[in-house]
Symmetry: C2
Subunit: 202 residues, 2 copies
Amino acid sequence: MRKGETTRTAILDRAVRLASGVGLGGLTIGKLADDLGLSKSGLFAHFHSKETLQVQVLGRASHIFVQVVVRPALAAPRGEPRIRALFDRWLGWTKTASLPGGCLFVAAAAELDDRPGIVRDRLVALQKEWLELIANVVRTGVDAKHFRDDLDAEQFAHDLYAVMLGYHHSARLLRDPRSEDRARFAFESLLRLARRSRRRSA
Amino acid sequence: MRKGETTRTAILDRAVRLASGVGLGGLTIGKLADDLGLSKSGLFAHFHSKETLQVQVLGRASHIFVQVVVRPALAAPRGEPRIRALFDRWLGWTKTASLPGGCLFVAAAAELDDRPGIVRDRLVALQKEWLELIANVVRTGVDAKHFRDDLDAEQFAHDLYAVMLGYHHSARLLRDPRSEDRARFAFESLLRLARRSRRRSA
DNA sequence: TCGGTAAACGAACGTTCGTGCTATTCTCCC
DNA sequence: GGGAGAATAGCACGAACGTTCGTTTACCGA
């Protein structure tokens, strides 16, 4: 049972890279098998349907994301530095994880937002987890007095996600070289509004 | 040559609605023909490839977008009211245009960001036009003294787009009932930062 | 009213897809 | 080192896709 586990992971790693470019639906078992030098049926036997393959691809992508973004960022000091670390690693995670086609979750989100099923359910669960994690980091920032007491952590998480979506759109679709600057600027604006203002409340 | 034009438009309208749910790639000529009570080949004859169909679908969607969002909003008084009108209509345009599957452009953006070709080229051109239009509206707001003199109009347009992407993600994928409130809150934050501050420059 | 042209049809094509079955090869434990 | 069971290959299937072709129907100006 060890060999199987190994190739299964190899398959999923490759699938994550592939799907980052063509989406989860664009993923093709034949192409995936060719890329790995496997037969279609040999690969197929690991998962028993394309749907469970897609679900496991999402799971693998999440695992990688946690490894290259979440875990290192949580090592940063709580409060603002931790949020900055999160943002920095998030910005570059497709490079770190060598996903040539951009963020898999962004692609999957647009693809699955109207297609019910277990793949969508898994994606939604992962995204909610991620937003909740961001919100929690923000809350520790409030506790640490880095941010305003009345800051809405979930709104902040939502807005941060929006900044990343904007970055993705600008960088991947429009190929705008200023994408990263734009994203960082937006992030700083978010932080400025989150900090305790020395004047004015709302 | 008149009848053909009529059905062609009918096809494209239907295709826009369909593609809003399944994406431009998920669009299927057979399904589209069935929905309209046409034969596959009869429909196909109007466009001579699926690719040109997709391009024309984008064009038609843009036409609708201008009609239900841009034109009415440009009737609002210049400056902040006009930006508000733009944002309001943009927020609800999928309902106004009865697109059951969310914004077609958002779906297409994620789908095409790594697939070169004329469809992608058309989409990029449309998106740049749209961002430029937003930036221009913002500039008139600067001229009208509603916004700070040193406001970066293109950054504002970029950030506004990000707010919409966040809204789309939250509303369509996560089905969060607070999506619209979140988006409006983010929009107000954007405006607050854009207005002339009575104190502090940066 | 007639004739030409535009519009739509029906059937078939070559591919590609996911998915089963059966046989073969490999792995690992005793 | 041999045998059980896992891992992979080979092959074929049915369905769906875009596309082509020859034919038929509907329209409209002369």
